[in-house]
């Protein structure tokens, strides 16, 4: 007889999700189900293409920058260097916001973060509460930088085809400089606590270390910005194809399963499923994908972000004679890729003669990581059931395993 176990909801997910486990004696079958609609291209269809810049950021703030790059190409304009620096500065702030938010959510698994410091101290959770406060202070700095550079932190608006909408006032670039100075030691402190305690091999997440997915391919945006190529690696870490955004958008197949709203992306020449994000960016040969590896990669990236902020958030980079090349004509198609904090994002728009969106393709990291997420969920369930864990414990394992993705 088949029995069913539903673990719902899976916390910390961007989109409402649940796990359904079917058991009929032949071993459990685990399904990671996204239950909510995700139909952003349908919302953009029929809009003036420049308006998608403000709509796509509901997927994640970094989509705003992916759209901006695609629209630069659609309108055939090259943004001035200052505008590119401001966009790059915004991306760094978004890296910080994304990674710090994930780490904060991880801490919320240990204790009630809304508790009073005194109560937490009594319960032996004082250090976690303090770390969460430090982390959120750093997040506040990053949000301030994102607001200065993007107009808003959660849904940036400042990028336009050909650059950004306005110059930075002196008080803003001076404040960015201060933020960069303050952010570095804050991140160093957080990194130390996470490395030495929370993510340490014998730390509280030790049991997570064994939850891994099968080795799979990875896709990242080439470091050489001028080239803009999507580099694929296969499951064994060997280099594979290197494609332009257009070719990648054509070559990556998406398919939908009847039991989840989130599609799956695959690239045949990389062995089918592949992953993106901090894990893909830091992938070492032979390393199996896991949440622990992803969290460690995020810590390294936070440190890099702090350094990048110090390089970028200076008057010379944030000011210049122009921040915009105003387009003269509307093109027909534009595609671009960005390496966002959550992973590779690809956008392509096709428009009619008035610049109205008629076709649009977006590859979001959640779609590209969907196979990885399903595999991690399955592994967590198998391990949990085999070791006799309670549903609560299994749910906790799954939630922590999926949090970075």
């Amino acid at each position: 007889m088949e029995t069913t176990l539903t673990l719902s909801p899976i916390r910390w997910q961007e989109t409402p999700s649940r796990i359904t486990i079917l058991r009929n004696g032949a071993g459990p079958r685990t399904y990671l189900q996204t239950t909510a609609f995700e139909d952003l291209p349908a919302l953009c269809w029929g809009r003036p293409v420049e308006e998608v810049l403000r709509i796509v950021s509901i997927l994640s703030p970094a989509h705003h920058l992916a759209a901006a790059k695609a629209l630069d190409r659609l309108f055939g304009v090259e943004p001035p260097e200052t505008a590119l620096n401001m966009r790059a500065g915004l991306m760094q702030a978004l890296y910080a916001c994304h990674h710090l938010r994930k780490l904060h959510l991880l801490l919320s698994g240990f204790t009630d973060l809304f508790d009073s410091p005194r109560a937490a101290e009594r319960a032996g959770k004082g250090e976690i509460l303090q770390t969460a406060a430090d982390l959120m202070a750093a997040l506040h700095l990053a949000q301030e930088a994102a607001t200065i550079l993007g107009g808003r932190a959660d849904h940036p608006i400042s990028s336009l085809p050909g650059g950004v909408s306005r110059f930075l006032k002196p008080e803003y670039y001076e404040r960015l400089d201060e933020i960069a100075v303050q952010f570095k030691p804050a991140v160093d402190k957080i990194g130390k606590i996470f490395s030495e305690k929370i993510l340490a091999e014998d730390g509280p997440l030790e049991k997570m270390d064994g939850i891994t997915a099968e080795a799979m391919g990875a896709a990242i945006l080439s470091d050489e910005e001028a080239e803009e190529k999507i580099r694929f690696k296969n499951g064994s870490g060997a280099d594979g194809d290197s494609l332009s955004p257009e070719a990648a958008l054509d070559g990556i197949e998406c398919y939908t399963e009847p039991w989840t709203r989130t599609p799956f992306a695959g690239y045949e020449k990389a062995g089918g499923s592949y992953c993106v994000g901090p894990l893909a960016r830091s992938a070492e040969e032979g390393e199996k994908p896991s949440a622990m590896a992803a969290f460690r990669a995020m810590l390294k990236e936070l440190s890099k972000t702090a350094a990048a902020m110090q390089e970028l958030y200076i008057q010379e980079k944030m000011t210049g004679p122009s921040v915009r090349t105003v387009p003269k004509d509307i093109g027909t198609e534009g595609a671009a890729a960005v390496e966002a904090p959550e992973g590779l994002i690809l956008h392509r728009y096709r428009v009619d003669e008035k610049g109205i969106v008629r076709e649009m393709k977006i590859l979001d990291p959640r779609v590209q990581n969907n196979a990885l997420r399903c595999d991690l969920a399955k592994n967590a369930v198998d391990r949990g059931l085999n070791s006799g864990k309670s549903p609560r414990e299994i749910k906790g394992l799954i939630e922590a395993a999926l949090l970075p993705f």
Binding site: E2, T4, L5, T6, R11, W12, Q13, E14, T15, P16, T20, A36, F37, E38, D39, P41, A42, L43, G46, R47, P48, E50, E51, R54, I55, I58, F75, S108, F114, S116, A119, L139, H140, Q143, G151, D154, I157, L160, G162, S165, R166, C254, Y255, T256, P258, W259, T260, R261, P263, V326, P327, K354, G355, V357, E359, K361, I362, R366, P391, R392
Partner: protein, 381 residues
């Protein structure tokens, strides 16, 4: 005034972007601590809380934990609902939270107005639906395997996904809402204003002075008197965004409608430059976030009190300022404005467009409740 037992709060988000929910977390760190004063008892995103008991015998442990699931007798002082209502699970959550909460707060443009997901109604492939199928990776419906999820029951009934509803709806179109905080996402000061004035009413005014200085006078007076503000109010200004926009205003005369990509920053009123800026119809409260960066307002706070239908108001405002008396030129200028429906109702199509029948329920029945202040009003029925 309550001082002992912390206020019990529920937070629920549908398929939004989590920005509203993350903002609530940020309030605790960036504005004022909730510690000892408010307790988050139910929050699927942050706590993994569930409406349902879980599964078969293996679910026993979870059922016995009062912290995760809503017990039969559990009630909340305040429920914060973020996101629009798109499927049956969202609607059921709205009904349950309404039933179990003393006060229900619609948080953010999606819950308050329908939000960006309402644009699905303008897609010819999806008109009349809430956008079935998932094509996050493609705008091409042929490749999207649309409806494939509807066959999930053929695999196993346990895998069935929540049914889509025929329309994208704001929270107030499903259940009565007590208060609203608009915005995409709501600004931190207004969100704090709403939560703190609802929960901490009757407290010394020093604690609430931050709140009252940002709200319309009538609301501020109620809060200072230790009373709940009148039900149905929106925690935002009562005037239009233009009232707080710092851009230089001269004379509004159009010779051509301008697209955002054609504009460059001059510091002058965006509408006067020929850009569609909805500051004249939109409720104030954001402080002109978008116009401050040189970009036109898109109405995420919903319409101002004095406006009946934001689209009609915009058409009226724009057409009265065409800089010509020549009919052919008027037509040419009018033609230069495109996608007016998708622009004027960017965040409020489900609730604020008079041309849509606002009072139809998902079953095609009239619910008999009329909205306030126009088509549906931010907190109308």
């Amino acid at each position: 005034m309550r001082t002992k037992k912390p206020f019990q709060i529920a937070v629920y988000g549908t398929a939004g972007c989590r920005a509203c929910e993350n903002n609530i977390i940020d309030l605790h760190y960036q504005v004022n601590s909730f510690a000892g004063r408010a307790e988050f008892k139910f929050w699927p995103y942050l706590l993994g809380s569930s409406f349902d008991d879980i599964g078969d015998d293996l679910g026993k442990d979870l059922r016995e934990d009062p912290g995760d699931n809503i017990g039969e007798n559990e009630r909340f002082d305040l429920a914060v609902f973020a996101g629009s209502v798109r499927n049956e699970a969202d609607a059921e959550a709205a009904r349950t939270l309404r039933e179990k909460s003393d006060i229900l707060l619609a948080c953010g443009a999606c819950a308050a107005l329908g939000g960006l997901p309402g644009l699905a109604h303008l897609n010819p492939d999806l008109k009349g639906s809430s956008g079935e199928g998932s094509d996050l990776c493609s705008g091409d419906r042929d490749n999207a395997q649309e409806n494939v999820q509807d066959n999930a029951e053929e695999l196993d009934p346990a895998l069935a996904l929540p049914k889509k509803r025929t329309r994208v709806q704001a929270l107030s179109q499903v259940v009565p809402v007590d208060y609203t905080v608009p915005g995409c996402p709501p600004t931190q000061n207004l969100l704090w204003a709403a939560i703190s004035s609802i929960l901490f009413r009757g407290e010394p005014t020093g604690r609430l002075s931050y709140v009252v200085s940002r709200l319309p006078e009538a609301v501020s007076c109620a809060i200072l008197a230790g009373e709940l503000p009148e039900k149905g109010i929106t925690f935002a200004g009562d005037k239009a965004v233009c009232a707080t926009c710092s851009r230089a205003k001269e004379e509004k005369r159009f010779s051509k409608g301008k697209r955002v990509y054609e504009s460059s920053e001059t510091g002058r009123c965006l509408l006067e430059q020929g850009l569609i800026c909805q500051g004249i119809t939109t409720r104030e409260g954001c402080g002109g976030l978008c116009t401050g960066v040189g970009l036109p307002c898109r109405g995420c706070f919903g319409k101002a009190d004095a406006v009946y239908d934001p689209g009609a108001k915009m058409v009226s405002a724009i057409s009265s300022t065409f800089d010509t008396d020549n009919a052919a030129t008027v037509k040419a200028i009018a033609d230069s404005f495109i996608d007016m429906t998708g622009t004027f109702y960017r965040y409020g199509l489900p609730t604020q467009c008079a041309l849509l029948d606002q009072n139809l329920t998902e079953k095609g029945q009239r619910n008999g409740r009329s909205g306030q202040n126009g088509p549906s009003g931010p907190s109308g029925g």
